[in-house]
Amino acid sequence: MSEPRPLPHAMSALPDAAEQARLDFAVAFKHLLGHPIKSALPHIYRERAEPVWTAQHGRAPENWQEVGDALSDTSAYRWWSALARAQQEYYVDVTSTVCERQLPELIERYRSISRAATRGTLTLDPELAIPPYQSEVDIHCVPGSYFLERTDDDVWAGARSDLGSFVFMMGGNGPLCDDKGQTGAAFLKARFPDFRATRVLDLGCTVGMSTLPYVDAYPEAEVHAIDLSAPSLRFAHARAESLGKAVHFRQANAEHAPYDDGSFDLVVSHILLHELSCGALDRVLAECHRLLRPGGIMLHVEVPIRRKDPLDQFLWNWDTTNNNEPFWSTLAELDLVEPAVRAGFPRESIFEAEMPSLSRKGGIWLGYGARKAGDAQ
């Protein structure tokens, strides 16, 4: 089976043959870490780790922390974990250097596309403060994170995110890496078939991968998208224009977005919540409520972060300490009903649903949302 390739667009960083070989290696290596190495861990846990821990403590492990304590004592887990971190750092380094090599050309392409832009807009705010949950750690172990700017009109972080997301997901999110948006839009159409939207806002849009599906899902709507990262937004703007989609991108913080009360029918986000903090989550939900018109809907598409089995939860929580995702395991256990109630949403409107992925067979996204009280269209 040959490796999946992204659908190239005008802003794509294109690996040369040697760089592509490194990326293919990173993907093949990651597949191997999944199976047979990680897939053996449940067996090793049941046969070795759990009996040892139980003998030491006089009872079986009861939660993911205790299960993790038991499993972390095995050489098999430690090697898998060490290899997984090594793989993450390796693929980040390769995608970083691919985009670095092409940066001058990518900046030229951004300038020429944005000068000729006819569909959407880009509004940057150089004074925007980056909140500590984003500035204190380089999430996903990407040196420089989304905020590295070393030259005028820098798009490096956007380009790396565009290429990196595809490689990280091993192509599983589709050729345009838009599965989260596609799945979220399809979920909304099925759950709220009569819902009409004329203004849509995507929070924490990065390069707009998940934003664009809403342009197609709600063709009558004006689609807006915000993010903290200027390099991502420049890239997103040029990417959307080159793909023929009208989106209005703006550099802003989802905790206090620069739009009027009740000015959107639909507010969405994609894997944003696990990059926040407890306080920021409350503020973002309150902001969603403020931005929505009566009867408007909020939908946050998340990784299926809540696991029923403690061992599964421990393995899912690996990213918290090993992939610079500090809020991940807190969010996994957080009650999401009360924060939405505090934000003003009617309790009975709040939902958490498993949404089957449109691109990955057997894949699941978590859909969390609510509907603002008032006249439902």
Binding site: M1, S2, E3, D16, A17, A18, Q20, A21, R22, D24, F25, A26, A28, F29, H31, L32, P36, I37, S39, A40, H43, I44, E47, R48, S75, A76, Y77, R78, W79, W80, A82, L83, R85, A86, E89, Y90, V92, V94, E100, L103, P104, E105, I107, E108, E136, V137, D138, C141, V142, P143, G144, S145, L148, R150, T151, D152, D153, T321, N322, N324
Partner: protein, 119 residues
Amino acid sequence: MTTITSAPLPKAAKGERPFSLKDADHERLLNMIVALTAEISVLQDQQDMLTRILVARGVATDEEIAYFQPDAAASAARATKRRELIERVMRIIIADAERAVRDEKPYEDLLAMVSSPTS
């Protein structure tokens, strides 16, 4: 064309790096092995590329080498070779996983078994 004259890309992500292995130096060595394995994979792919170009055309230009695109069959053959290389280098880890699932009898038991007069 834009020129980038500022600092090189950082190599360290902000945030303390965790070490999973008991000895951090072992894990550092592991990261070198992963990178070396990747470079062997790169060489293997390049070898394949050069061979195909030479066979097909006799002469290759730099441009052809830099932007060679394997067809589906070549890409699939590469994927197989790549997987095999990784399995060779990571053999001991894969073998540990395989043994764990197999629930192999401890070696001591085997020694006892063959040394038993009734064996």
